[in-house]
Symmetry: C2
Subunit: 630 residues, 2 copies
Amino acid sequence: MNHYSYNGKVLHVNLTTRAITEETPSQHVYRRYLGGGALSLYYLLKEMKPDTDPLGPENLLVFAASVLTGTPAMGFSRYTVAAKSPLTGGFGESEAGGWWGPELKFAGYDAVVIKGRAEKPVYLWINDGKAELRDATHLWGQYSKETQTMIRDELGDNKVRIALIGPGGEKLVKYACILNEIKHANGRSGLGAVMGSKNLKAIAVRGKKRMGLHDESRVKDISQGFINNFKNSPDALALGELGTAGFVTAANAMGILPTRNFREGTFEKAEDISGELMRDTIQVGRGACYKCPVRCKRKIKVDEAPYSVDPDYGGPEYETIGAFGSLCGVGNLKAVARANQLCQAYTIDTISTGASIAFAMECFEKGIISSEETGGLELRFGNADAMLKMIEMIGNRDGLGDILADSMKEASERIGNGSHKYAMHVKGQSLPLHEPRGKVGVALAYAVSPTGADHQEAPHDSLFEYDAGVEFARPLGIIEPVPALELSHKKVRMFVYLQQLYSLFNSIGICNFTAHPWGPVSINGLVDYVNAITGWDTSLWELMKVGERHSCMARIFNTREGITYEEDILPGRLFEPLNRGPFEGNKIDMEDFKHALKMYYEMMGWDEHGIPNDSKLQELELEWIKDKLD
Amino acid sequence: MNHYSYNGKVLHVNLTTRAITEETPSQHVYRRYLGGGALSLYYLLKEMKPDTDPLGPENLLVFAASVLTGTPAMGFSRYTVAAKSPLTGGFGESEAGGWWGPELKFAGYDAVVIKGRAEKPVYLWINDGKAELRDATHLWGQYSKETQTMIRDELGDNKVRIALIGPGGEKLVKYACILNEIKHANGRSGLGAVMGSKNLKAIAVRGKKRMGLHDESRVKDISQGFINNFKNSPDALALGELGTAGFVTAANAMGILPTRNFREGTFEKAEDISGELMRDTIQVGRGACYKCPVRCKRKIKVDEAPYSVDPDYGGPEYETIGAFGSLCGVGNLKAVARANQLCQAYTIDTISTGASIAFAMECFEKGIISSEETGGLELRFGNADAMLKMIEMIGNRDGLGDILADSMKEASERIGNGSHKYAMHVKGQSLPLHEPRGKVGVALAYAVSPTGADHQEAPHDSLFEYDAGVEFARPLGIIEPVPALELSHKKVRMFVYLQQLYSLFNSIGICNFTAHPWGPVSINGLVDYVNAITGWDTSLWELMKVGERHSCMARIFNTREGITYEEDILPGRLFEPLNRGPFEGNKIDMEDFKHALKMYYEMMGWDEHGIPNDSKLQELELEWIKDKLD
């Protein structure tokens, strides 16, 4: 048996020189990094110097699918975009599902590594093993939908898959996102701004390449097995029924639905922004990613102004509903759906946009931001119309929107007057919609995530809830749940193991909603599948080490950029009592939190300053990185 | 699906009080420790105080099968005996195949934990869920074969499986072993002496209990799959053809066959002690362990004196041939086979016995030991008859044999006169038959093995050879061999991963000759099998952590007994040039070795003194051990 059968290519594009080259990475590279986040970090650390301006031509922008993206089984639609983040100044990474990643593979590439800056706006067109840069001057300034339509028309093919930016990315909103199919977002870390800074409007891909499969009949059997399991996966079926929006009602009942800029843990109008309401009112259909039977995406439609919504933009996810609903105090689903569409049109991250507006609302109510500064907007919690207006101001960098378009850290520094107390961010990236005072494991996850506060650092269920969570952790040997409010070594251990698992997921390109326990792909099934595709004779041990490698490289990346353990902190509000709901009065204990950080570093094999020691780098075959640190 | 379906019992026997009780361990205990070495350490650390006299009644003696021992698939015959070792004063552990372990399971128990000391000699009779202590006064002093026959006659059942000691164990030879079927040895660590010190002559087991299998049809399929793979496993088939004795010729050709007390790397008479010669002359059949089609055991017969051999005692393994052949300079297969039989009759470890005699031979030739001290024996290299006489003197603790019956460290201290330079041991346990100067990874393995120098700390192929070895390591992500003479971080990493794998094997009860690449059981197949048996939904990650837990607990055990990192050393000779053969002139580099130790501690998550830190204990769910350290 040939153990070395995975073959792939990486496309390198220099926008400054317009040079386009192909690389054929070694099996070592594929096995050590797989794709996605880990493969991106490999290129970022190898090819980019420290202290690079994230919005300068020297920043590297990596689009990375994985060895599994686009293979026949359900769940492997994902790809990563990564760069030095303009939002945090550290490692930036964000995953998206949809259709672009698989199509990149069919076009012949596992990844695209982009350097430099185009003189004028361009888009990259990758068509079945050929790549070219095309003029995008006429596309500049267009919203996402128009951009997609114009490129498809130009290329004469409606099946071209396009990763693109709208005006938010062009105007360097620090948390601009990248969309494919104008609804699947590489949402966080501000990677759309990096695209904008490079004058790169879009990457269009199309291909007919048939991927090599080591053992076709085994791939077929395993894929069918996943489908069979899916039919008996209640969580995946429920997810299909309500989408992630289904979590609104649950989170509110549990008291962990961040409300009015994290002042409260429940929202009195949660029913008015719920997934159930969406299904029963504005939903007109469901959508899916490549090969996925879960179909958790929503198609929604609102005809009447001012909240009209075009179904092509997709429906709001849980995070988006939380950000524009409870966090801004807006109990109006149509307004939230309209906010979602505006963000998609401008390509700005819904979480950061909503969180920035909620922050500004609190500052306005406290008199820190005046009506003059808002251009007359009564920017109060619950004012949907002011919120929608602010989205456009951010997308256009108008007035106060120009300030809020920077990281929340920068914004609060510019606003001053004690506003930092209300700036709910870690390392500049605003908190997603999970209240740590009701599930304290997330406090640790937010603090140590290399990209700043992130809800995809580890599975929430395991970290936060009492029981369901252990389903994720059981195959790793954690057979008892750890109570939601316990920030003990048991919680830290669970986080360490699950962070590695999720870092693996983010490198291997599997959607966590298709992985057990949410979905039908068990982690042992995943190993089988990798072997059937690649013939590597790999194991979960090797794959989990890819996850650890990812975390370790990200840490090194941030260390290199001068981000120290002193930034593994949380906004002060989390150490103050939560208002309302089941966890009213609860706060993160500072001593527990500091001790958890210490244990986390130790369990990771890092020193007391959170830096991986030499032997850890060597164990992970990352000794080459040491040269990059000098 | 019930994830918690493994049920088992542990028998506790107090020889002092004659109390016999049953314990039903929790699923936590079974998943964390599985059986064998790890389960033994769990009891040793939990129930035994530090500074216990290894030959006193307070020492704990654990016989532990595993959750898989005796299940239907090939390869799961193994069980562990463990105690505080009288040889090293630290952790003592040794595995044996054969038939005793499976029969213990059929009798209803996963393990037997023995405390105290019987007033008079006894044996333990475990019969289908019932256990009793029986008088063994009449058996005391009997050789192993006679003991086995007498007990079987007494119990009226020739299928009773008996773990027993002969006179060597009774007389507290510090490296006395325990045999089942008078040929399968728990050879190392001197556990037979612990049995002797407790006046426990034997444990006889018999049972008809049918073990519960979580998914019977899956167990059947997997078992059949292993058998099918076996038919295409060239290494396993070759092992069946020549037994481990087949390695003599190979080791000699490679220059790593320890000769004349590790002075030389090849033996000019290797052909005269080879596996091929054995097959073609004295071999009369093959033997096997429970359910194993490999059949690597030998049946040999020599009729004529003085080297007559009874086939019931089995044939010499590679280690035995090396110890009595090349290491003692004896180029006579029949003499070696006779030496093997004598050791089995007395139940003394063949490796330590041969090594002790080789050590004495060098001392004799150098004039450190006189003819007077040997009782007139010309104890020179190559003198087979003197060697055979010395075995009996050791077994009976006669004259010089009484000195050599202690650990090699103690013996050299008593002999004095610079003899320590020729005492080839680590922590008191003599080196097995693998020359580290030709495969330097073994130097690290010998130094850090918790039981003293041991050849089962990690698979040799991977550590020592150029190519074949990586077969073991590939599924763990090491896809390139590390050259035999390179003691770099790559070798350390390979050792760390493979030590965990072998520690898992020693806890789960699989024979490494049935595991891939030697045999047909891949490590992913092993995970499937554990799940089919137990219904646990476990993964290789969890199982490898059992291996790490084992290493970590053993380290804590030794730390508790005052064994520090300063004893992670090698005999001085290994830092001097090797004579003869392909590796002539080669030596271990002291700086490389010290650096490798440092890297090893770091990669294990231990401090600079080789002690696991608190977070590592917590990660491995061993926080309870901290109480045992105070």
